[in-house]
């Protein structure tokens, strides 16, 4: 056995692991187990895959050391056949390998008889593939954006691998990746890779079949199996590479195909607009390439951009990206420095975020709808196109909302169903399943600032993407602008998770949340109720029960009686206020009334006294 420790900064292919674990698939190194373990060197948890050890080592090492020599007659049976079976095995579990290259081919046994394909699940599809082993379109992307691909892409890689294994060396090893790509685009992949190599004549036919750039014409498993069994295969349709009668000259380069020009423009964006807006390009496309559709496409792109001058669709970067798609519709989406195949957006987004800590460009791409434009420019419809377009629409929808549980984070976790949660609170715990989330936050409570919340955009989006229950009411409360409501929303979401997933006591998390409930408790009007709740919290924290904590904080009956009590108290207060005002009356009125009464009294006293005096005088 041997273990492969994954780089935490790369998304892994857990679905592939699930498909191949414990299975005895022909031609593949058996995957015994996989899980997350503590990686002391990395200082965090990471994914580890345990494979059965291929005892014979790498086949390339054996060839280079001379320990293994094969002639052209043994090659199909001993090397090609097991590798075709490996591709077939992957295809049988509805997965692509996307890591077929000479350095990933092993001898399973000491006797070097059993050839197998190595790991393909520790990094995104095609991530570690040298450009030579990727079809033209996928080799133009960044490593993270090469896409899941199809069986055809595995067969292409197999073709290039077989060529190297047969020769015992890389026939294009001395050519730079960029030059190789140009050669592939101008001459075709087969000619570029095998053109100058001394390959056995018998192998030329399958290699040509596997390395043809036209997907529909490329050999499939049926043709390969048939060829290995000695059946004659129908002759390959030769589809010529689009080539102009005369070159398009720009910056000292001569471009004979729209594809090479497109590639150049996407890599020289500063000067690309000079070409796109120049009439010479239109003339060249009409007369040299003889493709009026492409010329019209470029004109339409420029005109549309002029109409959206102050919008993202009017920027030079957008025009360049769209024009490059028009020139080469099969090429990946290339916007600014971000390139990806439409089926590789998820991994590209994850890699971009994990490496840079942000993903502005991919999100910009979603907002301006470049993938939709790419699909609209495709001349042939492929199986998963509509499904992929739907996924893009869903992601754009998520991106349009900024609330917790949506936005960029939701796009990240929805498009990468096995990406671990990237919240700073638990990023070291490699939490990729929702069931592990609360225990991880619980463990993180000891090392986190108790004044911060155990919930952020990543955790909310991770729950929203991975938890199957409807949590919209919780997310709505969490997004409330009022702090108290947001705190209750956070508690309700965490409590719901603990309750639904039947997670045992979470002492640390309960204590953490309990310390943040001040604002939520203050939503009760009654001081007595607040005091009662505050007294009750410590006992519930000791139980580690978030649902009970939530029930205490947001009990419907308590809320109702508090609201009713408040209403009643308000009425009593108002009545008392009315009474006070009535007694006090208005100040001036009371003054004048008292003054009047005083004057009246003085008059009465005066008159009465005069009458008494008069009476006394008369009597005397």
């Amino acid at each position: 056995m041997y273990a492969l420790v994954c780089t935490p900064g790369l998304p892994t292919r857990i679905y592939v692991m699930l498909s191949v674990r414990g299975e005895e698939l022909e031609g593949l190194v058996p995957l015994a187990e996989w899980d997350t373990v503590d990686g002391p060197l990395l200082g965090q948890q990471t994914m580890v895959l345990i494979y059965e050890r291929p005892k014979g080592g790498r086949i390339m090492d054996a060839i280079e050391s001379g320990a293994h020599n094969l002639n052209e007659y043994e090659f199909p049976r001993r090397i090609m056949d097991p590798l075709v079976r490996a591709v077939k095995s992957m295809s049988s579990v509805d997965r692509t390998h996307r890591a077929i290259r000479p350095s990933n081919v092993f001898f399973m046994d000491d006797a070097m008889q059993m050839v197998v394909l190595g790991d393909c699940a520790t990094s995104p599809p095609g991530f570690d593939q040298p450009m030579m082993f990727e079809p033209i379109d996928r080799s133009m992307t960044s490593p993270g954006g090469r896409g899941v691909g199809t069986l055809a892409d595995d067969i292409y890689a197999l073709g290039a691998t077989l060529a190297v294994l047969m020769l015992g060396y890389n026939p294009v090893g001395r050519i730079s990746d960029e030059d190789l790509l140009t050669l592939k685009m101008e001459q075709g992949s087969y000619a570029a890779i095998c053109g100058n190599a001394r390959l056995p004549i018998a192998l030329l036919e399958p290699l040509r079949g596997m390395l043809t750039d036209t997907i529909v014409a490329r050999w499939g498993l049926e043709e390969l199996t048939g060829w290995l069994e000695g059946q004659k295969q129908p002759s390959l349709k030769q589809i010529p590479v689009v080539r102009a009668d005369f070159p398009y000259l720009f910056e000292g380069n001569s471009f004979y195909s729209p594809r090479t020009l497109s590639r150049y423009l996407s890599r020289h964006r500063k000067t690309a607009m000079q070409v796109i807006t120049y009439d010479n390009l239109i003339d060249w496309l009409r007369k040299g390439v003889e493709d009026a559709n492409r010329a019209d496409g470029i004109i339409a792109t420029v005109k549309t951009a002029a109409m959206h001058k102050d919008e993202p669709q009017g920027t030079d970067e957008f025009v360049i990206a769209k024009a490059c798609m028009v020139l080469d519709s099969q090429a990946p989406i290339r916007y600014k420095s971000f390139t990806f195949m439409p089926d590789g957006f998820a991994a590209a987004l994850a890699v971009e975020f994990l490496h840079r800590g942000e993903a502005k460009i991919p999100l910009e791409i979603l907002k301006i709808g470049l993938p939709q434009i790419w699909y609209s420019l495709q001349r042939s419809v492929f199986d998963s196109a509509s499904l992929q377009q739907e996924e893009y629409s869903t992601l754009t929808g998520y991106l349009s909302l900024d609330d917790p549980g949506f936005g960029f984070e939701r796009c990240l976790y929805e498009s990468n169903p096995t990406l671990p949660c990237q919240s700073e609170i638990i990023t070291k715990d490699y939490v990729y399943q929702v069931g592990d989330l609360l225990p991880a936050i619980d463990a993180a409570s000891n090392r986190s600032d108790p004044k911060t919340k155990p919930m952020d955009g990543h955790i909310a989006a991770f729950i929203a993407a991975r938890f199957e229950e409807d949590i919209h009411p919780h997310l709505k409360a969490l997004a409330a602008p009022v702090e108290e409501t947001a705190t209750i929303g956070m508690l309700s979401l965490l409590a719901f998770l603990q309750w639904k997933l039947r997670i045992t006591a979470l002492y640390g998390l309960s204590s953490w949340v309990g310390g943040l409930l001040g604002p939520a408790i203050n939503t009760y009007h009654s001081r007595t109720t607040r005091q009662d709740i505050e007294k009750e919290i410590p006992s519930l924290v000791r139980k580690g029960s978030l649902p009970e904590l939530f029930d205490l904080i947001d009990n419907a009956e308590n809320r109702k009686s508090d609201a009713e009590g408040f209403e009643e108290a308000a009425r009593e207060y108002a009545e008392a206020e009315y009474e006070v005002r009535e007694i006090e009356d208005t100040g001036s009125e009371r003054q004048s009334k008292a003054e009047k009464k005083g004057k009246h009294t003085a008059t009465v006293i005066s008159v009465v006294m005069s009458m008494i005096v008069a009476s006394i005088l008369l009597i005397i």
């Binding site: 308000a570 108002a574 100040g587 008292a594 004057k599 003085a602």
Partner: protein
């Protein structure tokens, strides 16, 4: 139409009713005054000069009820009555009346009594006001105490909620 600035004249033979009544009152007053003067000249002289503070209070007090006049009159009359009785029952002559009026001590008694009446008029209302204020303050203690208890239990937020309710008269002085 009446031109601006021209005051329309009253029709001939039509006089305001008030001026007629005033004239009538003046005539009757003069008649009674003449009769009194003829019957008791000393009394009239003594009353006119002795009740001068009352007459002043009558002029000064613009109120409808004329509390100041009545207040001053009561005490003024009390001070004057002994001298009137001297005139009526001892020496009923104008000289005796003038003698009283020219005697500083007699005048002091009459006018001091009037001054006491004025003092009564001035000092009693504030006393009554203070007394009534004390009574209302005592009455307001209970509801205010209840309000304090409510605030302690339900918080200061209660005031804002109650502020939105229509709860009757508002003390503008307190508000300002």
């Amino acid at each position: 139409m009446t031109e601006p600035g021209n005051i329309p004249s009253l029709p001939e033979g039509e006089l305001p009713a008030s001026s007629g009544a005033g004239l009538q009152f003046l005539i009757w007053g003069m008649v009674f005054f003449g009769v009194f003067l003829w019957i008791s000249m000393p009394t009239v002289v003594l009353v006119i000069f002795g009740l001068l503070p009352t007459i002043v209070a009558w002029v000064v007090d613009r109120s409808e009820q004329k509390y100041a006049m009545w207040c001053v009159f009561g005490m003024n009359f009390s001070g004057l009555l002994p001298f009137l009785m001297d005139i009526w029952f001892k020496d009923h002559t104008t000289d005796a009346a003038i003698a009283i009026l020219t005697n500083v001590f007699d005048l002091m008694v009459i006018y001091s009594a009037a001054a006491f009446g004025w003092m009564l008029y001035l000092s009693l209302p504030p006393v009554i006001t203070t007394f009534l204020t004390v009574i209302s303050d005592r009455r307001v203690t209970v509801p205010k105490g209840n309000q304090q208890t409510i605030l302690e239990e339900w918080g200061e937020g209660m005031i804002q909620v109650v502020g939105t309710l229509d709860i009757g008269p508002k003390d503008e002085d307190a508000a300002t």
